[in-house]
Subunit: 434 residues, 2 copies
């Protein structure tokens, strides 16, 4: 570029939008930079799926079948609708009925209430776009899924953290917060309660069985001037190892006018397809599709058809059952390693997850696991192990966030890699305990 | 739903965001509803690609090759980066060099300046998101691509129409508008000049050769407090039949700091893949990827790899050459039919396009081709032929827009269907002339 004479370069600065500024700093980017800068590191940070489990044979078989059918192939290669392939949406009804353990005709919805998106992330983003004006309020568990916190920041929304325990979001804390907001005249700004209902990213905790109907009831009861919707993010629902097979919050919303259910095939099949979907109240279908039409006219139709063929040919169920076994073994490897290496360190605790990809670990209160602290540098550069600092998973001002926690993922490493990673991490912790 | 007791239904209204309200009414939705409600209609409205030309054999061959390579297949099925597959971005450099008729190392950019999106529509939307605050100004040809006008409305931006002639955007009109905006103190709100540079949708007109460098120079000269960027939408660039093979506006921006070039494989290969891409000034890569990260973490990696394999195996060039022949024959069919059926009607004129998918027709000034007028109903319901009313392609207040124009597409119909559609349309026109 130095060969370009300066007189033809623009000297005026590019002026970016306010919206860009709200959303600009995502912790995920920093983590990815760190991974690049520390190539020998064992990453317990990445929330990616296991490379070895990716469904090559299943995709090969589905692609061959889809592309052998000239009519279907042309449908798949043409534009789809903004809402997404009806062929896939119909199959998802059956899939959903299987998850909810009821016949399709008892679901209380039809394929018109499903919206297909580029991963469930796009669904979360679109829901934010159509519901939230700058300053509007979302209530969410503390801690919760950090990428969605970033998306909400990008909309200029306010996220208010609600206390959690071993059963997830605490109902009394949720009600207390709603009461407080009413008192200060802000109840009318509350638009959403965000709940990651199964094996939450980052804690691995599922919302307790007896709180599921209650969250829906609370949302409805506090819907005074405007409706308070519940956004149920069930991304990890199908990655279940043991423990109870819980019904969704959505299933307790009999009128299907309060809960939006977000699911995805990124964890249970292939993230490379980027197929997520939402089941949404009927009156929200058009607003979401209008907004999606503005953004991209619809996600890749080809992938939606490919996935429909995968489901149709029974290639999916078998794959998920293999995945569960693989990740269960990895979860066990991480818990065993946690006992082995952290068992003797005072004040270290961790959650035993029944599914998903994460173990949430709490260190003694003197610890600061943050990106800027000496512990993160020591772990990354000396012990060569990486984790996600817990504080990025909390909404609210930095000074109010616990800083002594870590999200550890067993998704991408082998059991041996998990063991070695945990050994290194414990060694880093001991260094800072002593 | 009637079985759900009313006491468990929410009575509080859903309150949608201001942003949703800005973007809610898209003419494309109305057109699609009309197509569904009038099934026997010949649509000269749809801007879709010809179903018969969709690359089934090419995709079959590329998918088999990609999925036979276990390592590459797993890469494709895993998450990609938000910016998009580096493998495809590198190939696009070669592709772009071919279009610009220069060696890759003379392009003056590297693969880091390419961003892959869900169709070029998502790129246009992201550019709007990172640059435009509500009230910011975009200058665009009158008429121009209506879906982008909808996207700009959805951002709360103001689009100011600039007069055009047979050579596209008029430079003196552009300068006049900039001068006027400076005078009223609004120059600092101007962020973008939007130019569909090849076979514009809707007019089929390409920006004249001698105006291409000038637009870049004008943008630079009027960049005073802030940079005024040029967004060059080259969606139809490769669908060229005859006439000069023009260099892009982007090629005149030697420092590559002023023009953003948007291209797509939706028209030239498969819209079902939804792979579009942008070549953008270096300093805009991170803001665009940050925003895209908030929205979807990246488009489908699988499709990007599939397309990379298509390009790598030389399957693309042959397909495009076949497409050109097919669409040229259809363009000829539409122009021949226009002569045959409209030749005898006073005051009817149309543009002869050298590429793309559209013929732009102007009727006598007494006509109102709008959705609400009697002519649209008569054409659709009595003659059973559909077009896109010209007024939806204009920015600015409804009362200032010409209402006697139509966008006619030869994309999806056979030559015989085009002939019959034009016969019906002329019959509708005669009914309103007499």
């Amino acid at each position: 570029m130095s060969s370009v004479p300066s007189e033809i370069r623009s000297s005026a600065p590019v002026q970016l939008s306010r919206r860009w500024q709200w959303g600009s700093k995502q912790p995920i980017s920093f983590l990815m930079e760190q991974a690049v800068q520390n190539p020998g590191v064992i990453s317990l940070a990445a929330g990616l799926v296991d490379h070895q489990t990716l469904p090559v044979a299943e995709t090969r078989s589905a692609a061959a079948a889809l592309l052998a059918d000239e009519t279907l192939a042309k449908q798949a290669l043409q534009y789809g609708t903004t809402q997404g392939s009806e062929r896939l949406r119909r199959q998802l009804l059956t899939h959903l009925a299987g998850l909810e353990k009821c016949p399709v005709d008892r679901l209380g919805i039809d394929a018109e209430q499903l919206v297909l998106t580029t991963g469930s992330q796009q669904l979360l983003s679109l829901i934010g776009e159509v519901l939230l004006d700058p300053g509007d309020i979302v209530l969410a568990a503390a801690p919760t899924y950090f990428a969605f916190l970033g998306t909400l920041n990008g909309l200029g929304a306010r996220t208010i953290p609600v206390a959690t325990d071993a059963g997830g979001l605490q109902i009394d804390a949720l009600e207390r917060e709603l009461k407080r907001l009413e008192k200060v005249g802000e109840l009318s700004r509350v638009k959403l309660i965000y709940v990651v209902s199964y094996y939450e990213n980052p804690t691995g905790i599922s919302l307790a069985a007896d709180r599921r109907a209650v969250v829906v009831e609370v949302a409805r009861r506090w819907s005074k001037q405007q409706r308070i919707l519940v956004l149920e993010d069930a991304a990890y629902r199908e990655i279940r190892f043991d423990g109870p097979d819980l019904p969704s919050l959505w299933s307790f919303d009999q009128a299907h006018d309060t809960v939006l259910l977000a699911q995805t095939f990124s964890k249970s099949f292939s993230p490379g397809f980027r197929v997520g979907y939402g089941v949404v109240p009927r009156e929200l279908v058009a607003p979401l599709c209008d907004r999606k039409g503005n953004e991209d006219f619809g996600s890749a139709n080809f992938n939606q058809h490919l996935l429909a063929t995968v489901l149709e040919r029974g290639l999916y169920a078998e794959h998920v059952s293999m995945l569960r076994q693989t990740y269960r073994a990895k979860r066990d490897a991480m818990l065993t390693a946690a006992d082995r290496y952290f068992g003797g360190i005072d004040g270290v605790q961790w959650v035993h997850p029944h599914g998903g990809l994460y173990v949430w670990m709490t260190l003694p209160e003197t610890f600061d696991t943050g990106f800027d602290g000496p512990f993160f540098s020591h772990a990354t550069q000396v012990e060569r192990v990486m984790y996600v600092p817990g504080d990025v998973c909390y909404a609210g001002p930095a000074e109010t966030r616990p800083r002594n926690q870590m999200r550890l993922s067993y998704g991408t490493q082998t059991p041996a890699g998990i063991d070695e990673g945990m050994r290194r991490l414990a060694s880093a912790v001991r260094k800072f305990v002593e």
